[in-house]
């Protein structure tokens, strides 16, 4: 999709308020239907007159619909989170690299999600559960700030029913939480990790991804079987504005999903 044309109009057909600042929108094309995004890819979502932000696809590919989970952290995302069914927003995409979860055939698939990071992982999980016998074990570790910040809580049991092990922990608990409390990496020693046959997909704040990848490496998972979803300032999505550079990578084109073997050195360099 060229930057010289306005984005394609998509109508909000569904809206779920996941938490107090996060909304999942289901979108249907008004006229132009964009290609189906693969898990891990993102769209540029446009709030008319306000601006555009990169948002990972958060639902399964069910052409022609798109699903995106957006957290209200700035003017554009706030405008998108306020969108109501029937409202039109602009979409460009899909852009970027995918989780490529399917290449973990006969492997243990481990997804580790921190905060809003669960949203970009959800399509990979749903895709894996749809072809469950392709994988050995499927495990999801979820970390969130507090119980009220957990996403997709109504689906966790469905995922378990689909033969995924799902473990949830929060950084801080209020009254009424009867689950784990601690950082998501503290869940890793509790699962039986077979390092030499695990493919790990990690998504969340950069510090969390780095620490999780290190913990998995220490447990024997090879860096090229660990994938992270990297983020930088993104404006054009088509590798011509230069903002999303991370060392040699242009994340709109060479990411956001990057092998940890490549990402490790980049994440370890301060202010890169």
């Amino acid at each position: 999709m060229t930057l010289s044309q306005p984005p394609a109009g998509y109508r909000v057909s569904g809206r779920v308020e996941e938490t107090r600042d996060t909304v999942t929108l289901t979108l249907e094309p008004v006229s132009v239907t964009l290609p189906s995004p693969r898990p891990g890819q993102f769209s540029m979502l446009y709030a008319f007159g306000v601006g555009e932000v990169p948002i990972s696809v958060s639902g399964p590919a069910r052409l022609p619909c798109l699903t995106h989970t957006i957290r209200a952290v700035g003017a554009v995302s706030r405008a998108l989170c306020a969108a109501v069914p029937g409202q039109i927003i602009g979409v460009r995409g899909p852009f970027g690299t995918s989780w490529d979860e399917a290449d973990a055939e006969a492997q243990d698939l481990l997804l580790v999600a921190g905060g809003i990071g669960l949203a970009p992982l959800r399509p990979a999980l749903l895709s894996a559960l749809a072809e469950r016998d392709r994988y050995r074990r499927v495990t999801v570790l979820i970390g969130a700030r507090s119980p009220s910040d957990l996403l997709y809580t109504s689906e966790l049991d469905q995922w378990r029913g689909g033969r995924a092990a799902v473990e949830v922990t929060v950084d801080r608990a209020g009254a009424g939480w009867h689950g784990d409390v601690g950082v998501v990496t503290q869940l890793i020693p509790r699962i039986e990790l077979a390092g030499d046959r695990t493919t790990a997909l990690i998504c969340g704040p950069e510090v969390m991804m780095r620490l999780t990848a290190q913990a998995l490496q220490a447990a024997g998972v090879a860096p090229d079987r660990i994938r992270v979803s990297l983020e930088r300032n993104m404006q054009c999505g088509v590798a011509e504005c230069g903002h999303c550079q991370l060392g040699p990578l242009l994340l709109c084109r060479d990411g956001p999903v990057v092998s940890y073997r490549t990402a490790a050195a980049l994440l370890a360099t301060r202010e890169l």
């Binding site: 700030r145 910040d149 009254a175 020693p189």
Partner: protein, 159 residues
């Protein structure tokens, strides 16, 4: 302790890799306990006298905070040790502990562990290293939680 239980004890991550002799000495002073979900294990401010090697289930570390009731600060699970404060100069529990799920653990008294360490400094050194490793990991995790990485940027805790 039966052979089967000894083998189970020896497999716990805290003692795994210690010389068999050391494991045997520890095992001799360990009791296999089952703690029902909901049961309190100890309360904050009580004298810290125990070390539990958790095999299954979940233990919540909590603190009574006026106005917030009992807040769970961390949970521990299979493979974790419960009870570090007996090493502090004033051995008193900083937090309380309760079983959140049914727990199976090996319980030792701090008195017996310290006595073993005094009698054999090599064993003492090995245990000290392992306890320190646990403390370091929990310190790192606690610091990461303080960073509040999941907070939205610009909000009060997101700085």
């Amino acid at each position: 302790m039966t052979e089967a239980v000894l083998a189970d004890f020896a497999g716990h991550p805290f003692v795994r890799g210690l010389p068999a002799e050391h494991i045997a000495r520890l095992a001799a002073r360990a009791d296999r306990v089952e703690i029902q979900a909901g049961q309190r294990i100890f309360d904050e401010d009580a004298d810290a006298r125990g070390l539990w090697l958790i095999c299954s289930g979940r233990v919540a570390l909590d603190l009574q905070v006026p106005g917030r009731q009992r807040v769970v600060v961390e949970t521990l699970g299979p493979g974790d040790e419960l009870g570090l404060s007996w090493l502090a100069p004033i051995p008193r529990w900083q937090f309380g502990a309760a079983a959140q799920l049914d727990v199976i653990a090996y319980a030792l008294t701090s008195e017996s562990v310290l006595a073993l360490c005094e009698a054999d400094h090599e064993l003492g050194y090995q245990l000290a290293r392992r306890l320190l490793t646990t403390a370091i990991a929990r310190l790192h995790a606690a610091r990461i939680r303080i960073l509040d990485l999941y907070a939205a940027p610009g909000t009060e805790s997101g700085l």
